[in-house]
């Protein structure tokens, strides 16, 4: 059991009085050095810094190495480790239970864009209020090293031979499915992962984070797209990104105040400041985002950063005009029509 904050403990607390410990999970059982662990740690840090009450978050996952990781962060949050490729549907139903809750889903490339491609794309168009992290390593780890749908063509793996198929680009799939927030990062870039998790969490609606997360065990040849070495050499940050949570003192460094900034307002009123690089990249421009992804594909680039953020759109639960009380706290009085309604119904029949 995760402990409550200890009284009188000297540990640092955030503005809601919780320590980092309150955001931690069970010890990981993934391989040492796995990119997924680093992502879990950044989720912990991001939630701590955002002063999120763990009970306001629900964790979801499918099946695979990545899908194990919700066990390794935020013990105090409810979690549902579901079926292979089916995390989006479980999350969709579950988040109707209490519309004030926010989902954090963790999936993998196999879970999301092989077996789960259908649900992945449909949850995008429904704009579920959830951070959807794909820990993308281009390989099936839990079954010990088969190609996933994001593995690049020509990749060679032990016992599999050479991959003859073109890869699927998760961010591209997300954008053409009308996702409202799309970003990519690299597990080795801890600071950017954390900032993007914070930005994604503050977005109301679906927020896809495609995080290249190298598999140290089965897919980490230096030449592979999803390896640490390849990632470091090919990473092409779109922009620097600083996220400022509403309750923190606003501290911009000088460089950012010089006007090389663009504000993107999050749904909750918080703001992300983007530093445009030489491309002058505008993440609110969907046309530009598709172009950037297409260009990156042609050039073998791995662009990271906030690729797209749609103008405010209602999240799934918002479009259902639900009562203010969470649905799962409604009682018989709210749910069962009054006795006289039975006569009305019978009168409607012939």
């Amino acid at each position: 059991m995760s402990a409550l904050p200890m009284a009188g403990a000297p540990a640092a607390t955030n503005t809601i009085g919780l320590t980092k410990h309150d955001y931690r999970g069970a010890p990981t059982t993934l391989c040492a050095g796995c990119g997924h662990n680093s992502i879990s740690n950044q989720i912990v840090a991001a939630m701590y810094e955002l002063n999120v009450l763990p009970e306001d978050v629900v964790k979801f996952s499918g099946i695979g190495c990545s899908s194990k990781s919700p066990t390794y962060f935020m013990n105090r949050s409810f979690g549902f480790n579901s079926l292979h490729g089916r995390m989006p549907s479980i999350a969709t139903g579950a988040l109707f239970g209490d519309h004030t809750l926010k989902g954090i889903g963790v999936s993998g490339d196999g879970d999301s864009v092989s077996i789960g491609m259908g649900q992945f794309k449909h949850v995008m168009r429904r704009n579920l209020n959830m951070v959807y992290i794909v820990e993308n390593n281009g390989v099936y780890g839990l079954t010990k090293g088969q190609f996933s749908a994001t593995a690049e063509v020509g990749l060679e793996l032990k016992r599999q031979g050479v991959n003859p198929y073109m890869p699927i680009d998760i961010c591209m799939e997300a954008i053409i499915s009308n996702a409202t927030f799309i970003a990519r990062s690299f597990a080795g870039n801890a600071k950017q992962v954390k900032e993007l998790v914070k930005a994604a969490f503050s977005h109301r609606g679906i927020a896809v984070l495609d995080i290249i997360s190298p598999c140290v065990t089965f897919n980490n040849a230096d030449s592979a797209h999803h390896s640490y070495a390849w990632g470091r050499d090919h990473e092409e940050p779109l922009h620097d990104l600083t996220y400022i949570a509403p309750r923190e003192e606003i501290m911009l460094d000088k460089e950012l105040e010089e006007g090389e900034v663009r504000e993107v307002t999050m749904h909750d009123g918080s703001i992300i400041l983007l530093k445009n690089l030489d491309k002058g990249y505008d993440p609110t421009n969907r046309f530009e985002a598709v172009r950037a992804l297409e260009e990156a594909q042609r050039n073998n680039w791995l662009i990271t950063g906030l690729i797209y953020k749609a103008p405010e759109k209602p999240a799934l639960v918002d479009s259902y005009n639900l009562v203010d009380t969470p649905l799962n706290r409604l009682a018989e009085f709210d749910l069962r029509p009054a006795p006289e309604m039975i006569n009305k119904v019978n009168a409607l029949m012939f």
């Binding site: 409550l4 089916r86 549907s89 479980i90 649900q119 639900l322 009562v323 749910l335 309604m341 019978n346």
Partner: protein
Amino acid sequence: MTKAINDFSIIIGTKNGSGSSTANNTILRSIFKMGIPVSGKNLFPSNIQGLPTWYTIRVSKDGYLGRREEQDIVITLNPDSFMRDLASVPPGGAFFYADDIKLPISRADIAIYPMPIKKLIKDDANIPGNFRELVGNMIYVGVLAQMIGIDLDAVHAALEFHFKGKQKPIDMNFGAVKAGAEWAKANLEKKDSFHVEPMNKTEGLIMADGNTAAAIGSVFGGAQFVAWYPITPATSIAEGMNEYLPMLRKREDGKHTYAVVQAEDELAAIGMAIGAGWSGLRAMTSTSGPGLSLMTEFVGLAYYAEVPVVIWDVQRIGPSTGLPTRTSQADLSFVAEIGHGDSDSIILLPGDVNECFDFGWQSFDIAERAQAPVFVLSDLDIGMNQWMSRPFEYPKTPMDRGKVLWEKDLEELKGNWGRYLDKDGDAIAYRTLPGNKYPLSSYFTRGTGHDEHAKYTEDSTMFVRNMDRLKRKYETIKQYLPKPILHATKGAEVGILAYGSTEAAINEARVRLERDHNMKTDFLRVRALPLTQEVDEFIAKHDRIYVVEMNRDGQMHQRLTLAHPESAMKLISVAYGDGLPASARWVREGILAKHTNVPVSKPAAKATPTKKKTSVKQTKTVSKNSRKGVK
């Protein structure tokens, strides 16, 4: 000619998509309005437009609502089925046809009535050209009404209902009915014996289909979340939810206490419903066989992770796509055994429209009490056809939300609880729901091995302990299930055991079996699985039990013989699956055919029928085709 009053059948052959369903429903409702027991069955193809389709109406002063195989009055508007339809008229029957069909008629043994539908409709200045075909169907309603004596006021009432009081379509359609009736009065001479006369046997009753009843029952059950994917014959349940949730759960603030999501497929539909059930909503989905096949993996998760969810399976006939618009009871074995690994299923088996309503709300109570999937196995015949029914009854018991702990409960327990801990000794643990703000309220749900505190484990002892508890849970839940219904006859030694929509046909068959064959029967209609004690007692009490069902393999019979190997010899399967609703004739002949073919049990002769049974008359041959014919 002796009059056949209020006891005959009509079949209407049209082209699918020609809009005849309004006309057919109007005939059905008019007769109902006259106080005469009546039932209607749509025997339709899997097609939107063009293929032949039939609608049968049975008028029965005795109140028999099962399908009748013989049709006395045949109406055809479809040249493609004309010759078949004509040939199907029994001697002494009546044949009505659209006179623009120019095909030879060579039958002197039946009454033949041509109907100038096209001409009459063209002559009616009130009907715009594009409505002619649609409204043209009302001509045959008028002709039939005139020829068998249907009250035109009753027809008007049926149209008012159908068009929800909208004057223009009512007038236009009723005009066509009158035109048909007047033409028939002036031009046709009655040459058959079939008549309707007013009765008072439908007073206080309603007409409804099972899917609508299921939807309304679910609304009264407090349904909060519906995820679904379109599939015949289940679609009208979800559409019913869309219609009745806003009507019956309307609030002053205009906000909703429910959500209906049309999913991208059945995998997502069940996933969403399970997600919602897990987070504490009364969640459901509706589907049919092929959809349920897709849902199987998720159902196993809900079984093992113990998530309440209600799944309606409106059965159609498989395997595979099968006959998608024909009825069946062939999903029983599949659902009873659904999922890989060891599992159990709670299955409710509604036998009529009223039970679709009742199980609509009861299924949520059972699911939340059991923290498990609850299947409701309806079928196309109950689900999509109009049935004369008792009015729906308001739920008699308050909602049972099962064992749920909220913040104050956990404070009292000081957080000392375990998601899968059998605290009460009834094998049902307590659950918490997302959104609970008590810091130790959460748990991590998984389909992988877990201990009593929902922690991942691969420990063998723990696994077995949990599986044993699950087994016991399904014993506990028996007390919450609807009990079987017994129709007893004094002095009966023969038992009939069945479930679902065969009830109407079986009750009719029982009357004939007793009257014509001196066979007294007790009839137990099972309404739920797992089987309860009443079934054991029924089996113990009877020498021979005929298990009647609409599938090829006798699936309930198989389950019963597995559960009661000691009684296997006296459990006799009467099973047939051709996609058509059961008829009394089939039930009767099926039982009689098996009744002479008595197995000799080895140890003693006592299990074989005694001389009492030798008095039972056996119909000479059981027509193999008897269930084939609508045509």
